[in-house]
Symmetry: C2
């Protein structure tokens, strides 16, 4: 068998560990005698049709390990989704460079791109092994216990809420943070792991799996503020009303939409400001502050789960092993088999592609504004080792002398 040339690329939103998967592919591929060189495409599938390729076999292992520990997509990314014509362009370039395997690291949209490429290749008889390697902070790939990138983003959210809970306990008021997540509330729900003491925030968690009713929100906040003298809220950017309309569209005078008609939710503080304004004006609470975690939650340098790092590396390695041995295209999936242990499986592309997992009912509290213990059990091992521990003074009161 002639030695193969393979191509790897990264698609969709970056994560803190997506480069682990990239380096997993490169390093594992070079262990196979049947693989000659590893090319990378810059900025995803767009880099293929632009013939913008780099030779990753010329990277040193020292440099690759440094890149693996660096957040975001080292090859660059794209939001492009190939159609039939786009695929023909892809094949033209792959053929010109004798590429026989294509690895695409990404989320829903990227897995769908791999599915289209795989099906088109088969239909035109183009000999190509197409593999999808999972990645998404949204944790919304079906058939996976969780997806690489999510645990590190969840850790960021947990650490952020640990801090803002303490900050808000020092200078009290209402605090509302908006977390990424259009359809799946996993990342917002991760805020719950910040709680140590029963009166710690977040006190209220709103995910897109439940309809957001502004009147219920206000009465929840009012009750919490009366009980604790403060209130910490975590809200998904994708919260929506009973018609499915995003809450953010009620405020923004002009909303930005992508090619698929989706409203742009990230990169603006508008939703947090809207929710704060509601609390201020309707409940008459004075100190109300809102933050939007924005891009920090998926790219912050230096906040990563070591469990996530290892698994992201492994899905890259497994993809190469499956490509060389399984004899079929597919997507690498993570299955939980212990507390805590995982194994990997190669699943069919069409079982993952363009499907969206959301939080299972058992993970969301019946109240609809918090999570269950099952969610804590699910997430805790993913956050990794060395999580900061928030401590309190015991506060032995001094008896009053005056009054």
């Amino acid at each position: 068998m002639a030695r193969q040339k393979i191509l790897v690329a990264q698609g969709g939103g970056p994560t803190a560990v997506i480069n682990q998967s990239l380096v997993g592919v490169i390093q594992e591929a070079r262990r196979f005698a049947g693989i000659d060189v590893v090319y990378g495409a810059r900025h995803g599938v767009r880099g293929i049709i632009n013939e913008d390729l780099v030779d990753l076999s010329q990277e040193t292992s020292v440099s690759l390990e440094a890149v693996a520990a660096t957040p975001s997509s080292a090859l660059g990314s794209t939001r492009d989704k190939p159609d039939r014509k786009y695929c023909q362009e892809i094949f033209r370039v792959l053929k010109a460079h004798d590429i026989s395997q294509f690895y695409y690291i990404g989320g829903n949209d990227s897995s769908d791109a791999v599915r289209i490429v795989s099906e088109e290749a088969a239909s035109v008889g183009y000999p190509l092994r197409a593999m999808h390697i999972p990645k998404t902070i949204d944790n919304d790939l079906v058939g996976n216990d969780h997806t690489p990138g999510f645990p590190s983003a969840a850790r960021f959210v947990t650490q952020a809420f640990m801090g803002v809970n303490l900050d808000n306990a020092a200078l009290t008021g209402v605090y509302c943070a908006v977390v990424m997540g259009r359809h799946a509330g996993f990342l917002t729900a991760a805020s719950a792991l910040a709680k140590v003491f029963p009166d710690d925030g977040p006190h209220l968690i709103y995910v897109p799996e439940r309809t957001f009713v502004i009147e219920s929100f206000l009465s929840d906040v009012k009750a919490c503020f009366e009980k604790h003298g403060r209130c910490i809220i975590a809200a998904s950017e994708g919260i929506h009303d009973d018609k499915g309309e995003a809450i953010i569209t009620r405020l923004a005078s002009t909303v930005e939409r992508d090619a698929h008609g989706n409203v742009q939710l990230s990169g603006t503080g508008a939703l947090a400001d809207l929710l704060c304004e509601e609390v201020k004006s309707k409940l008459g609470i004075k100190r109300v502050r809102g933050d939007t975690f924005g891009y920090l939650q998926r790219s912050f340098a230096g906040c990563v789960s070591d469990v996530d790092q290892r698994e992201a590396r492994e899905v890259g390695e497994k993809a190469v092993q499956y490509a060389m041995r399984a004899g079929r295209d597919g997507s690498v999936a993570i299955k939980r088999v212990g507390d805590y242990a995982v194994r990997y499986e190669l699943v069919a592309l069409d079982s993952v592609a363009a499907k969206t997992r959301v939080m299972e009912d058992g993970l969301i509290a019946a109240s609809g504004n918090h999570v269950t213990p099952a969610f804590h059990n699910y997430l805790r091992p993913l956050l990794g080792s060395g999580l900061p521990q928030a401590a309190r003074l015991r506060m032995e009161p001094v008896a009053k002398v005056l009054k």
Copy 2:
């Protein structure tokens, strides 16, 4: 000499290391045979007048060390600034509890509170040792090389910009982040330390020490975008026009003001959204994203400079030593004496109180939209050990076969 009772409190905005100073006071005080017990006031001077005191001598050293490593103000904080009447209430409570020393950990406003308490005590013949312990993420206390809390917040900003620079390199566009700082741009300027390669962001840094001209901003962004195909901007929340009016007031329909008439700058994403809207509408750039670092930058659990931790502990310890031995009230100041080493000094309260240090001219680039190498040299040792290192692929290009 009778054994003394002392009182410690925390004022103003929390930081990641303000509890180190608190624990420094408690632990050092208990080493002095002349000190009997250490009380804490909850929520700063307000806790004194409310007689809301706790006995910190009953805390264990294990618990205190855990609290020292926890962000935010463990005793709670306040924005109250005592006047003469407020001081009389303070003395009434201190007298009732036989308190002879008062330690207040805080920034500008807190040092001014200590000055007022100190002067009022002297004028009414109340025997009190009043000590100010520095703390502020704004780094705006005069007479200090830097202030505890700033290095950790600066580290957060540096790590955040490392990440967003990499994120923006993967999915290109314009990115603008708003950083805390009403009058002093130190924290915003810390973004510069995220740069590794010459084309890394932040490409533009706007601090309140320079007048913000929207037309210059737009031409700066345009030039950067044309050169790099992307642009990363760091802007202080306090940027203002040539009349001193905050840029944020141009947008917000209603602005919140504090008791001193200051516009509320934090806890809203409005300024970042305004700047993004300008870039979108005036320059026609499509992908423009804005973030506001908000409360994360001062309270995020797990992002701290070890240098900052040590110094915050030391200013607490030194305050007790000065109180017991120097025979006068004052503020503990940090002086840099080596590269890198510091010593501490007890300076007069009125040399610090209610004054605001801003960035020295030599730290700001002549262009007014970036920092100088002198600023890099100033900040680098403060960020502490173990800062993440961003790495790139070497990207050896594959020769094009087609076209």
